[in-house]
């Protein structure tokens, strides 16, 4: 019982903390995000397993976390509001010739990061080749080039 409560509490606390941190935190944008993920998992490990190193406990924790995740995904399917609360929504940062600088500030995204996504995914050279740039709910930036807008 102790393990089950512990797994649920850790899942919920981490969920709230990540939502407070925002989309761009831990969106694997930099090497440091990877380091941060490792540090966080290491710090949480102790809270999850306490001093019970048995395989039973490990499997029980994983089972509980997966079941909570399944339940949440089922609720998300039924309730759009719950989905938004849990995962956030995408935000359009560049919309044809309009650049929403205020949204970019709020989401902590700058033009160089948009260009990085444009180069990586579409081989674009300049910002004026970008028709749309979106920061997805996951924190990733997706770019639609002008040439592919129909």
């Amino acid at each position: 019982m102790d393990s089950i409560i512990r797994a649920i509490v850790v899942y919920l606390v981490v969920l709230v903390l990540f939502r407070i941190a925002g989309k761009r935190s831990l969106s694997d944008a930099s090497t440091f995000d990877l380091v941060l993920t490792l540090i966080i998992s290491e710090a949480l490990q102790q809270a999850l397993i306490d001093d019970d190193n048995s395989m039973t406990n490990a499997f029980l924790l994983v089972t509980v976390i997966i079941v909570v995740d399944i339940i949440f995904s089922l609720i998300k399917q039924k309730s759009p509001l719950f989905a938004k609360i849990l995962e956030g929504t995408p935000v359009v940062l560049i919309e044809q010739d309009t650049t929403h600088t205020r949204y970019m500030e709020r989401e902590r995204v700058d033009e160089s990061e948009i260009m990085q996504a444009a180069r990586k995914d579409h081989g674009l050279q300049r910002l004026d080749q970008v028709a749309y740039a979106v920061v997805e709910a996951s924190g990733e930036i997706s770019v639609i080039p002008k040439e592919s807008v129909k």
Binding site: R19, I20, G88, P90, V91, Q96, A131, V134
Partner: protein, 165 residues
């Protein structure tokens, strides 16, 4: 899943009203996290200024220093300063419900014997005058832990520890 809307050429589940509320809440959340760190630095979660406390008997025969807030399975100390004349044996007791809610990892100096009975655990020491006795303990139960510490045949002090998960 969130419903799709049209932003010029693209269909996307953007919801700016919701997003603005989220940004506001996020900023409030950042302040809350900052406040948590500041309070923790001051000892609200144990190990600091806000957590450290002491209890003393009117004539200072027994002074206890302890932490108001302790953490589950993390070490905390009960430091007991006694003003007593030198004698062959000296006995300090704790109520047994408190002792059963903690793991006593170490006692310095080591007691010569430990006796249980009458709702107390009594520790007997061979000491010089005015000794300091330190209990190294790790709480194993959560929540408020009321406790009483006393000198056998002498005064006692009540204290309360809150154990965080």
């Amino acid at each position: 899943m969130s419903e799709l809307r049209r932003v010029r050429d693209i269909q996307i589940s953007q919801d700016l009203d919701f997003q603005r509320r989220e940004w506001t809440l996020q900023r409030v959340g950042w302040l809350v996290l900052l406040a948590v760190i500041l309070l923790a630095a001051l000892g609200a979660c144990g190990n600091g200024l806000l957590a450290s406390a002491s209890r003393r008997t009117p004539n200072d025969a027994l002074v206890l220093r302890y932490e108001r807030v302790a953490r589950h399975r993390a070490e905390t100390l009960l430091q007991i300063d006694l003003r007593t004349p030198a004698s062959d044996t000296l006995a300090v007791w704790l109520n047994d419900s408190y002792v059963h809610a903690v793991d006593v990892e170490d006692i310095v100096p080591e007691p010569e014997s430990i006796v249980s009975g009458n709702g107390r655990i009594t520790y007997y020491f061979a000491t010089e005058a005015n000794p300091t006795i330190t209990f190294h303990i790790k709480p194993n139960k959560l929540g408020p832990r009321p406790a009483t510490l006393g000198l056998e045949g002498g005064p006692n002090v009540r204290f309360r520890q809150f154990v965080l998960p």
